[in-house]
Structure formats: structure tokens, C-alpha cells
Amino acid sequence: MLNINNLHVEVGGTSIIKGLTLCVPAGEVHAIMGPNGAGKSTLSYALTGREGYEVVGGTATLNGDDLLELAPEERAAKGLFLSFQYPLEIPGVPTLTFLRTALNAQRKARGEGEISVPDFMKLSRDVAKKLGVTPDMMKRPLNVGFSGGEKKRMEIYQMALLDPRFMILDETDSGLDIDALKVVSEGVNALRGPDKGMLVITHYQRLLDHIKPDRVHVLAGGRIVDSGGPELALALEADGYDRYKEAA
């Protein structure tokens, strides 16, 4: 599914990712953990094609498609979704307008027809119910005046509605209280499937209690320095990242 090989990324001329290799097969959820400044967010931006995150070496493919060749919107149409650590506010654009426009843009790029308004309304309501998104939130301009927790829930709502094949969750747990964390995690778990993949970026073990990863990787100094099963996350929670400092 997602194959990253010896990836090097620079931001403003500074090398941040220094030879990262990672493979997430279809049907699996991998977690990436690591100290501040390890390059976790840089990885998510480089994969989604944000300007200023310059890939200077290596490859990244999704189902065989070379991601690095594609514009951000083309990557999205291929089914790559990023749940932002800090979701943006879009004043004056109602949430549902934004999502319908986005969904139709993706469908168009894939050569599919537009979704009809009634179908879209039904879909948006069904998904909203599961994630505790209120009709009021859907009518308001996207993320404007939302609390941190509401914004994160809205990210997962968008994810569920756009139904991507590969999902990157960047610090989705930050800003969520215990109850919200539960709702969001259930929403995320519902999106797991045999032909889907997920990369969960987090500082803390807490999220992984709810979204159980198949593999856990430690990112430090721009490289994967350790990999293991879910038990690795527990060990990290107990010991911290100190032992990887040298590796970095």
C-alpha cells in the first residue's frame, strides 16, 4: 500500500527527514511516535505535497502511484487524506458546501460522476450521527469558532465522508478530552478495512489504547530508529525517548 524508501526532506534548506524507510501494507494501522522535532509533521506534509517541504531524495508510492510526482489535490483524489494537527478555519464557507465541493472535485478527478444533492445530504447526516457532529456544526463556516476538540472531530468527520484509502492522523488526540477521544477513536476504527491503511502520528500511548496499531515505529532524528508491535508503545510510555537520543 504505502511504500516509503530512503526519503530525504528539507525545509528551508535544513534537512529534517534523513533517509526514512517505511512500508504500511493494506489493512494495517501503523503508529509513528517520537520526541518533539523528530520530523513527524514534516513526514505528513511531505507525503501530502505541501509547498516548502522539499523532497530531495528517495521515493514514496501509494498503491504503486508515485506520490511525489502528483499535486496535493491529485494525491487526495488517489485517496490520501491528512487529518491536520491544526485544522484551518475557512470563513464564510459552510462546512457542507466545502465538503460537497471537495468530494465532487475528487470524484471528477477520478472520472466519476458528481454525487446528487439528496445522496450527499443523506451521506452527510449518516456520518454526522456516528461522530456526534451536530447539524449546527455542518451549517456553520468550516471550523470557524470551533473549539480545539470540535475541530479534531470535524477532521474525522471529513475523513469519514471523503472515504479515503490511506489516512494520516497527525496528533489527532491533542485537544481532545477523554469522552471526545472515545468518540473520535470509534469513528477512526470504523474506517479500518482490508483495503485501507493508516498512519497514526502521536506523542502519547493514550490514543493507541483506543486505536490499536499493528506496528509501532519510533521516529527520531529524521529516521525510523526502532520498530515493534504495540508493546513498543507501552515501553516508550514507561521509559521515554531518552534511549533514542544517541541514535538521533
Binding site: 501530502t48 505535497g49 505541501r50 509547498e51 499535486a71 496535493p72 489535490e73 494525491r75 487526495a76 483524489a77 487524506f81 491528512l82 491536520f84 485544522p87 484551518l88 475557512i90 470563513p91 464564510g92 464557507v93 457542507l96 458546501t97 466545502f98 465538503l99 460537497r100 465541493t101 471537495a102 468530494l103 465532487n104 472535485a105 475528487q106 478527478a109 458528481e114 444533492v117 463556516p141 471529513q158 471523503l162
Partner: protein, 488 residues
């Protein structure tokens, strides 16, 4: 939601300026240049009474003593006022009795522009055409005015300015020049001398105008100035909503458009005036385009009268325009909602004046300026309260959005309060279309141009909502088209 989709489709299907075609038609022109003979020529062509000619000549003499204003934040080469035609009319073969006598080329022109001139087409709901009465002004003359009979049943007068001077001289003499005096400013005075046509509207007391009224201005002839004059009077307790649209062909020379619009609202009357201005803005190197130097003013003469100006300014090479309200009647209200978009080399200096004279008068200003390319966009506004304007209130909000790093946005608010009992609020923001927002939209699958259209439509939404439905959709498309190619 459909409008957003439409915006996107339009962006895809259209390239640059949509209305830039030229109608090939035999014209009757006055000789180039300006002098008393030209003023007499125009007046004679229109068969005007002596009082009108005297009015024009006085204005011309006054104009000769005036200086072109230079305080606006716009730059353009000195205009040679002798190098322009002041009168251009399609040559009529016979006296026009019905649309069938109209040159088919002209009919075709309006068809292309999507302006319904045939009432039966409007009534039959051709392509969902809105039920709107139209006065079509082609260069210097009004070529057709629709739904006049139906409007006359409710006592509404809707006709061209030239006709009103002949048919309703008392009304015209009573109101013409009382809101924008002949000596008001350089361009208004020029207009008073040479104005050719425009629209006259009178709504009698207590009448709610049964349909939207509109005028569609088209400049076609080369080297020709358009000087239209519009006068709208809403008598006591009357209501009217009026729309104005404008386009012009693409030409390499700059063309002057100096209009005057006067609105009079008597006791308890309400006028809603909306404009979608889409004059040719010039090419991408800044060659050609319309100089839009317009004086628009409303006099809220009666108690509790209301006037609102809503404008979407996307065209013209240079815009100099300040639709204003004189809040004379006690408890009268004025509003100004504006979207001004500049791209390429366009320059706009626009805003409003709210002059509070009466007690407990209220005004509201919402201005959204968008600058892209190498353009400059200035909001210039005056809010003033005179000594007697106790309890005057104003709220002003000016937001500017910058796209790219070579454009400019400027806000120049003037505030004068001569009474301690006035409350003025002013809010202003300037933001750059953020790369973060753009990336967020693109990550969700929106191509850059669609993302810009969506973000900009979000920015101007508050003002678009003030427009009548049909215009809102058109305006939304325009917003998208005007900004095409502004990013990336």
C-alpha cells in the same frame, strides 16, 4: 451550494473577459471633441426643450473652469477630452415602434449578454429568465425598455432619461440635479453638460414596485465616452429594487465612463440599488479598459426613508466611485455593501460617504476589497454627523484580502462628528489569502483555482447575500472569473 458549483464550472469554461465582443453596426456619431456646438448637437438630437439645453450649457461653462481631481489613489495618463466622441447612437432606419424595428445586431448583442429584451421570452420563462424589467442603453441611447405598460398600471414610470425630459418635464425639473448639483465635481459637471441617456424611475406614493427594475449599459463604439444619467424617485412610502449591469468590448484605447446617478427617497420610502460593474478591465499588460469615474448619491430626504447601495466592482481599468447617502430625514437609514476586486493592473479607489444630518439616522458600511496581480485597491469613506444629527449611528467594517505579493490594499476612512451624541464604530482587517488555507483545501481534493474561488466567495459572502438572487449568482461567477490566474 449550486452557485459554488456554478462558479467552478464557469471558471473552467471561460477564458478572460467574456463580454469583449464588438457589435458591427452603422452608427451615428457627433464629431469628435467637446465644445458648445457638441452640447447643442446632443440636445438637438434628443429634441430637448430649451430649459434642458440651457442647463447643459451652464454646466459646460462651469466645467471649463474646473480641474480634474487628483486626490484619489489612482494613476492614469492625462485624458484628452477633445479626443473622444460624446455622442454615438445606432442609426435607426425608421421610428422605433416595437422591438421588431430594432437592428437585429443589437438584439443579438443583448441575447449574447443574456439580457432579456422580449417580454414574452421573460414571461415564458426562457432559460429561467428572471422577471425583470430592463432598460437597455447602447452607447449613448436607450434602445429598449421592457414591461412599461405593466408597470404603468401601478403608476410606476420606467423609461429612458431622454423620454422623461419630454414626457415628464415637471418631475424631471423638480428633481434633476438636486442630489448631485451641476457644480458637484469635475466628472459630474461634465456629465451634466453631455449626458446622453440613462434611466428615469418614479414610484408613486405607497406603491411597492411589482418587479425588479434594471438598466443594462453597454459601451460598443470605439473612442466613445458614455455619460449616462439615472434618476430614481421613490415617493412617500414607495419601494423599489433596481439593478444596474455594465459591459464593454475589449479595445486597446481607454474609454471614459462618467455617469451620474441620483436617488431621492421621500418619507418612509425605500430604494435598493444594486450594481454589477463588469466594464472591460484592460488586458494583462494594463492596455485598454474603461475609466469608470462615477458619481452616485442618494438623498434620504424623508423621515424614516431607507437607501441601500450594493455593488460588485470587478471591471474597469480605473474606478473612482463613492455611492453615498445624505441622511437628511430624521430616522433615515443608509447602507453600503461593496465588493471591489482588482486583478492585473486594475486600480480602484472606491467607498462611500454617509452624511448624517437628521436625528437618529443610522448607516452601515460593509466593504470587502480583494486585490490580486499588480493591482491597487483603496477603500475611501467618509462618515460625518452634523450638529443636529443627535443619536446618529454608524457601523463600518472594511476587510481587505491580498492575493500574491505584488498588489496593494489601502483603507482611508474619514470620520467627522460635530455632535457629541453620535456613535461611530469602525473595524478593519487586512489578510493575505493564506497558503495554509490553500493547502488545506487542496489536501481535500480542490484544485488551486477552485480553492481560491471558494475562499474568496467565503470572504465576500456577507455582501453577496445583499444582492437580489439572480444577481448574486452572476456576481459569484464574476468573482471567480476576475481572479482567474491570480495564484500560482
Amino acid at each position: 451550494m449550486p452557485a459554488v458549483k456554478e462558479t467552478i464550472e464557469t471558471v473552467e469554461s471561460l477564458a478572460e473577459y467574456e463580454h469583449g465582443f464588438i457589435t458591427d453596426i452603422e452608427m451615428e456619431m457627433a464629431p469628435k471633441g467637446l465644445n458648445t456646438d457638441i452640447v447643442r448637437y446632443i440636445s438637438a438630437k434628443k429634441g430637448e426643450p430649451d430649459w434642458m439645453l440651457e442647463w447643459r450649457l451652464a454646466a459646460y461653462q462651469r466645467w471649463l473652469t474646473m480641474q480634474e481631481p487628483s486626490w484619489a489613489m489612482v494613476n492614469y495618463p492625462t485624458i484628452d477630452f477633445q479626443d473622444s466622441y460624446y455622442y454615438a447612437a445606432p442609426k435607426a432606419k425608421v421610428e422605433l415602434n416595437s422591438l421588431d424595428d430594432l437592428d437585429p445586431e443589437i438584439l443579438e448583442t443583448y441575447k449574447k449578454l443574456g439580457i432579456p429584451l422580449r417580454e414574452q421570452e421573460v414571461l415564458a420563462g426562457v432559460k429561467g429568465a428572471p422577471r425583470i424589467a430592463v432598460d437597455a442603453v447602447f452607447d449613448s441611447v436607450s434602445v429598449a425598455t421592457t414591461f412599461r405598460e405593466e408597470l404603468a398600471k401601478s403608476g410606476v414610470i420606467f423609461c429612458s432619461m431622454s423620454e422623461s425630459i419630454k414626457e415628464y418635464p415637471d418631475l424631471v425639473r423638480q428633481y434633476l440635479g438636486t442630489v448631485v448639483p451641476v457644480s458637484d465635481n469635475f466628472y459630474a459637471t461634465l456629465n451634466s453638460a453631455v449626458f446622453s441617456d440613462g434611466t428615469f424611475v418614479y414610484i408613486p406614493p405607497g406603491v411597492r414596485c411589482p418587479m425588479e427594475l434594471s438598466t443594462y449599459f453597454r459601451i460598443n463604439a470605439a473612442d466613445t465616452g458614455q455619460f449616462e444619467r439615472t434618476l430614481i424617485i421613490a415617493d412617500k412610502g414607495a419601494y423599489v429594487s433596481y439593478l444596474e449591469g455594465c459591459t464593454a468590448p475589449m479595445r486597446d484605447e481607454n474609454q471614459l465612463h462618467a455617469a451620474v446617478v441620483e436617488l431621492v427617497a421621500l418619507d418612509d420610502a425605500e430604494i435598493k440599488y444594486s450594481t454589477v460593474q463588469n466594464w472591460y478591465p484592460g488586458d494583462k499588460n494594463g492596455v485598454g479598459g474603461i475609466y469608470n469615474f462615477v458619481t452616485k448619491r442618494a438623498d434620504c430626504r424623508g423621515v424614516r426613508s431607507k437607501v441601500s447601495w450594493t455593488q460588485v466592482e470587478t471591471g474597469s481599468a480605473v474606478t473612482w466611485k463613492y455611492p453615498s447617502c445624505i441622511l437628511r430625514g430624521d430616522e433615515s437609514q443608509g447602507a453600503f455593501y461593496s465588493i471591489a476586486i482588482t486583478n492585473g493592473h486594475q486600480q480602484a479607489d472606491t467607498g462611500t460617504k454617509m452624511i448624517h444630518l437628521g436625528k437618529n439616522t443610522r448607516s452601515r458600511i460593509v466593504s470587502k476589497g480583494i486585490s490580486a496581480g499588480k493591482s491597487n485597491n483603496t477603500y475611501r469613506g467618509l462618515v460625518s454627523a452634523h450638529a443636529k444629527a443627535k443619536g446618529a449611528r454608524n457601523f463600518t467594517q472594511c476587510d481587505s484580502l491580498l492575493i500574491g505579493d505584488q498588489c496593494g490594499a489601502h483603507t482611508v476612512p474619514y470620520v467627522e462628528a460635530k455632535t457629541p451624541y453620535a456613535t461611530f464604530e469602525h473595524e478593519a482587517t487586512t489578510t493575505r489569502l493564506s497558503e495554509d488555507q490553500l493547502f488545506y483545501c487542496r489536501q481535500r481534493g480542490l484544485p488551486t483555482e477552485d480553492a481560491v474561488a471558494l475562499l474568496v466567495n467565503g470572504f465576500v459572502r456577507e455582501v453577496l447575500q445583499e444582492l437580489p438572487m439572480e444577481f448574486a449568482v452572476e456576481a459569484q461567477k464574476l468573482v471567480a472569473i476576475s481572479l482567474e490566474g491570480s495564484v500560482g
